[in-house]
Symmetry: C2
Subunit: 135 residues, 2 copies
């Protein structure tokens, strides 16, 4: 198994495929609910600092500097897992989010629905969730 205290990436940043801005695309989701919180970008320095510290560190494209998310707001993201996709151009981070991920005060940056189809919730687990809410 993977070392839970691993401080070095088993795949070096050089092997990742970067976007046209020379950065790695990162999708960050809540480690319990899998809710997608945000999409941001990492440079090599940001990636290595994230792996070393266990705190999500991005590169701010607007401020053009390393961005330890939470340093200003206190809304840190603690790394639970980092996974790279099949063509090594996108990183998926599962995190424990402190407070809200979005600067607007929403938990997730994705709060503006464009299309929403109605569908029957077929997951029988929701019966248990309803029961759980009652007890």
């Amino acid at each position: 198994g993977l070392d839970p205290y691993l401080a070095e990436s088993p795949i070096p940043f050089e092997e990742f495929k970067l976007n046209s801005d020379g950065m790695l695309t990162v999708v960050t989701q809540d480690y319990k609910t899998n809710e997608v919180l945000m999409v941001a970008y990492m440079t090599r320095e940001a990636y290595e600092q994230t792996v070393e510290t266990g705190i999500m560190t991005y590169y701010s494209r607007s401020r053009q500097e390393l961005w330890v998310k939470g340093d200003t707001s206190g809304h840190y993201q603690y790394v639970k897992s980092l996974t790279i996709d099949c063509d090594k151009d996108t990183l998926l981070a599962k995190v424990r989010q402190v407070g809200n991920a979005c600067h607007t005060g929403h938990y997730s940056c994705f709060f503006t629905d464009l299309v929403k189809k109605e569908y029957k919730e077929e997951n029988p687990m929701h019966v248990f969730e309803d029961v759980y809410d009652v007890i």
Copy 2:
């Protein structure tokens, strides 16, 4: 509420912020489990076709053409919801995935763990899941 048979986006593609390649970044996840399946890109044509048909349609950067995912493999992705993020540069799609999302045969393109911290599963819902597995 949103029209479940909406065939036109309430926000036109022109209002989205595109990446340096002139495309919209798209995160696609399973609508029931929230598992992230893949990250891909859309042109305006791909986005509008997705909204109109309800079938995820990307732009293939390698083949440089419109890509109706599933047309070759049968592994279509049926749109359940489309959500744009706070700065309008990333689309989140919840879909019903037929077969596997990844061309490698994995359900998700994210199957290579780089870092994985051990953590106690604190969600009491798992008690119910265990019960459900038994009954």
